[in-house]
Symmetry: C2
Subunit: 371 residues, 2 copies
Amino acid sequence: MQSVIPVNLPQHSYNIAIAPGSLDQLGTWMQGTEAYPLKLGKKVLLVSNPTVFQHYGERAIASLEQAGFAVATCLLSDGERHKTLETLSQIYDAALTNRLERSSTFVALGGGIIGDMTGFAAATWLRGVNVVQVPTSLLAMVDAAIGGKTGVNHPNGKNLIGAFHQPRLVLIDPQVLQTLPVREFRAAIAEVIKYGVIWDADLFTQLEAAPQLDQLSNLSAELLQAMLTHSCQAKAHVVSKDEKEAGLRAILNYGHTIGHAVESLTGYQVVNHGEAVAIGMVAAAQIAVALQLWQGTDAQRQLKLLHNAHLPTRLPSGIDLDAILTSLQVDKKVEAGQVRFVLPTQIGAAIVTNQVSTTVIQQVLEHMQAV
Amino acid sequence: MQSVIPVNLPQHSYNIAIAPGSLDQLGTWMQGTEAYPLKLGKKVLLVSNPTVFQHYGERAIASLEQAGFAVATCLLSDGERHKTLETLSQIYDAALTNRLERSSTFVALGGGIIGDMTGFAAATWLRGVNVVQVPTSLLAMVDAAIGGKTGVNHPNGKNLIGAFHQPRLVLIDPQVLQTLPVREFRAAIAEVIKYGVIWDADLFTQLEAAPQLDQLSNLSAELLQAMLTHSCQAKAHVVSKDEKEAGLRAILNYGHTIGHAVESLTGYQVVNHGEAVAIGMVAAAQIAVALQLWQGTDAQRQLKLLHNAHLPTRLPSGIDLDAILTSLQVDKKVEAGQVRFVLPTQIGAAIVTNQVSTTVIQQVLEHMQAV
């Protein structure tokens, strides 16, 4: 089983490869083929965190060195609270110490946080060097590693500082998910369900056919490969049509409007990103139903999938509703003071709107408070 | 007297306007014309430093508000040593506090440092908002404000962290140069002479015809307008042909290879950027003559112009030659370990080469040591 999904963008197209066992061929993949050499230079800065590096660092380095790359390593502290300008400086320092050049390549080996920070460092080091994404979490595989959004958090808001910087290659080895903590696995399923709701009805029904979505061992290898392929295809398709989020790409933010507020207000620690998105999807679904854009029965089907993945569908206890409403105003998705929401209209389709009154948001959030 | 120079780039063309008294029309310029509205949003974050703001802040704000913009202000400490990620955070904080949106605009009112930092903040805030450059130093007018290079310094190297982010408008009011310190004025003349050497023989001979280049009051208004227009045209021309410095644009780095090393090693304080470039131009000229690429008589003509502007043409005393050679290796202009130099071949033309031996560099630097 192997899928290669092209992401077609003017000036910087690239491939997403989904191939079991491919971590040991990272160096070969980075060389490209004879007909299409990737020209990624000779020096590589491998950025990771201690946990991931302990499992997969040696294999990645061995593969890179075997293919002729000179590898330097930079390990960053794990966790969303370290996704800051300060941590970013450590990548810059490592790039300077190891004399990375304009033709050199940063390799992100890790989850979405490592991918976002490494991507942003690559976007801004010497005004832009190559980056290769090797996502090791399911969330990064289906979302963060694809599409070129990079960045770090501001103390008062997630991903407020960043850049668009497309990777030269995304290499996904599903086998590394074996070591992924179950909570992170479930969180990523939220994004997979998201693609089903907003884009891919076929994926949605495949997920409904699965008896359980709560841990890797309950999934067949075929379903896993299908989930990865469908999710990456959905994201690649949307990104190809709208690289800089001028329009269509915004639908990928389904569940993220309320989700980001919840993450931010709980200090990025109580709920993780995927859990926050799950909560945000429930909120957006309820708003869509309240505005009569979506059928209540479809919203129930979504809720069932989320429950099946053991994902949270209510607000964390103690969170202040007014604080959520204020937080929405500083989100990137605000335009002329109006908060933008992505709302489903059927399984497999969604619209973007800024026509949601504060009253409706408030009513929906009240119904979602912790019991 | 008024010149409007178009910078033609795929997807983001813009104008450079050189117009005496235009500071008081900043708001109108930012609206654009009825046929070509600039669509710069309603909110403006005006970034400046206390010195410049004291002179021109009120007039800029009055003009912006009269045109209907809501203006917030962010003042940064003056000086190259403040061009850091840490100072950048102050712009981000101001953007967050004042709820700047994706459609909003950052306005840089100041010299090159303010322009570079504001441009980089705009490149990375919400993954990119509009920026308008209103340069108040001669150096920023003829160089930094044009072309979209933005960034901050790493403790160990200048502009190592940055991005390409084109402004939506560059508005140059030559009248604001009245308050520019004479040392900064002279430093900028180095860049003007640079355009004459590498690109514009006509500009070079106009400069040779001037009796003095050492202070603003010794220049006719016509020569000043001509200098600004020729310099901006040269830069606009080069940038239009090669936005991301894949080739041609590199010639703009004439004098910058040794120049950056000298700036960096003296802690950005002993010599300013233009003075460092003057020193670097002398070094590059001597290298070109040593390699028999350029006539010694032309190098002498360049030297005479630099003297005429009272610019330094020798290394600062106490600087270590070996340290310069080491510093060249960490510059952005290194490729596969080879340092790139821009070398003149005649008045008005230059080439880029990495074929300069360390021996030649060393000999030239030895001859340029302080007497």
